[in-house]
Amino acid sequence: MPSLLSLYINNKAGGLIFHRDFSSAAAKLDINEHLTLASTFNGLAMIMRQLSPVPGSSGMELLEADSFVLQSFDTVTGLKFFVTAEPESKHLDAVLKDVYMLYSDYVLKNPFYELDMPIHCERFIQKLMKLADDYNKRG
């Protein structure tokens, strides 16, 4: 079954607040490269929405490349969740919705977590790894 590669979460300002690799096949980048790429992606997504030939189109949701797919989800509150996965991966939109639910529980309900700041919540990461594991097994 094609597996998940990486998850990124951007805050309202377009800055990366969370990143996780789920596979050894994920792109090998250092932290600064992740930060730059995530912010760049935010800019690109904004441009893509403006370039869309269809009026009132939503932002970019799915990108299919030869060696990976990327699914993106914007929350009404301004966060961006996006995941990369091996080609032929399905139901990535459901994965992102599940991650959003995990975020709303294990990140936001932790009173010590400061909004829009980098996420270091252990239980969020544990639940996320389990989610990824289940996905990779089932596909």
Binding site: T75, V76, Y100, L108
Partner: protein
């Protein structure tokens, strides 16, 4: 037109019930006691009613900004088309999901609405003594609404306008839209 609104009220009620069923529950007595302990402590710390009211509202705001993502992630509601839609979603789905109560939307105009609660789990066993007659006991709810709506780009003022604790028949919160906050992409050169 009327059939349409009734249909969507049914849909919202169902969404509220579904969301309520999904979330974990806690004893409502424990909830009332905990909230009461919070209010008493704030009164003790701030000593006078106006400051207490302000602090309760502020605490509510801090809850609201965190609560809204859970609402959006877990409740099956589609994007609101108008401020009135927002009112209905808050009343039928939001209040149901988080407080287990049904709220009514009354007295609506383009930029304002009032939420009416016949049941208020926060103040179940409360009676306000004379010196706290002006206490907005459930003022935290106003803060929650203000915080939640701000996260979805609406700046509002929320006020507790009637309260059973004040001798009124119902508890009412008035929500007034002040400003839609639109974040726009600005070039660095600007």
């Amino acid at each position: 037109q009327k059939a349409e609104t009734e249909m969507s009220a049914v849909r919202l009620n169902r969404a509220g019930d579904t969301a309520f069923a999904k979330v974990e529950k806690v004893s409502s007595e424990l909830f009332s006691l905990t909230y009461g302990a919070v209010v008493m402590q704030v009164i003790k710390d701030y000593e006078e009613v106006d400051a207490t009211n302000a602090q309760l509202e502020k605490m509510g705001y801090n809850i609201g900004v965190r609560l809204v993502d859970e609402f959006l992630a877990k409740a099956q509601v589609s994007a609101c088309q108008s401020f009135q839609d927002t009112a209905e979603v808050i009343a039928k789905v939001g209040f149901k999901m988080f407080l287990g109560v049904n709220a009514e939307v009354v007295k609506t105009t383009g930029d304002e609405f009032t939420l009416q609660l016949s049941d208020n789990p926060l103040a179940e066993f409360v009676e306000l003594p004379e010196q706290y007659a002006k206490l907005e006991y459930s003022g935290m709810l106003c803060g929650v609404l203000r915080g939640a709506l701000e996260m979805v780009q609406m700046r509002v003022t929320c006020t507790l306008v009637r309260d059973v604790l004040w001798g009124d028949d119902v508890t009412e919160i008035r929500v007034v839209l002040q400003e839609m906050l639109n974040e726009e992409y600005h070039d660095d050169e600007d």
